[in-house]
Subunit: 146 residues, 2 copies
């Protein structure tokens, strides 16, 4: 029988490590958490990304959009559930960049992440990032609070 608490701790560590890699704009570090056949839904650019190479290219494009300033990437309200070799989590994500005055130019996103344990190591097999939009204007909403 799996030790669920241990699995959830391991996934917590994976998320911490992934978050630090994003904050450091470390593409190799980010991608090291993903399974080769990851299927990702991001908030921009394409409906879906199939496979780690396509998703890596997308992360490179995203990071290159960020000005020289510091990346803002905070995880809030993270909930993890794990059983055997399968797990999922969801969280809110304060995502953006610091402006020249050190102020966050960021918005709240939503992230759902799904995992498999592959060769004894948890890997992300699915990731879903999004912001929501206003029905009236069709505009993405960047100013919402949890």
């Amino acid at each position: 029988m799996i030790n669920t608490a241990k699995a959830e701790d391991d996934i917590h560590e994976l998320m911490d490590s992934w978050q630090k890699a994003v904050q450091a704009k470390d593409i190799d570090g980010i991608v090291s958490h993903y399974a080769l056949d990851i299927l990702a839904f991001d908030a921009i650019s394409q409906l879906q990304f199939k496979g780690v190479d396509a998703y890596r290219n997308h992360w490179e494009a995203c990071v290159s959009m960020c000005p020289a300033g510091e990346m803002v990437f905070e995880i809030d309200d993270l909930k993890i559930a794990a059983a055997d070799d399968t797990a999922f989590s969801h969280c809110l994500n304060w995502c953006g960049v610091k402006d020249e005055n050190g102020k966050d130019n960021a918005c709240w996103m939503r992230v759902t992440t799904c995992y498999h344990k592959l060769n004894g190591k948890w890997k992300v097999v699915h990731e879903h990032f999004s912001v929501l939009f206003a029905v009236e204007s069709g505009k993405a909403l960047f100013d919402l609070e949890p």
Copy 2:
């Protein structure tokens, strides 16, 4: 040991039943698939919905936005993974309404769903719907193809 194929079949059935309920605008039917403490990220209105009552109210608002015409709600590219009492799935979702000429007024959304087996029955504990947006205009993108 869990029968994974059986669990995945059960979740397939759950998704079929949920899809039919949405197509029929049957709010009780939709909500019957959700756990009491569901945490949902939808594409509109609020950053998150906590609990089945809040999410039910949101589904009622969504359904009331649809004109008298037929609801369009198709599931494509559904992938399910299950282990023990925990599972997840992701799919593309062709979502909208039929116009007066019978033409789909719809767009491709992305859906991630997470499940727990509670008292012997699979229930949705997390649902994440989204469309993506254009970085330049900040506008939601309704015309993308998979």
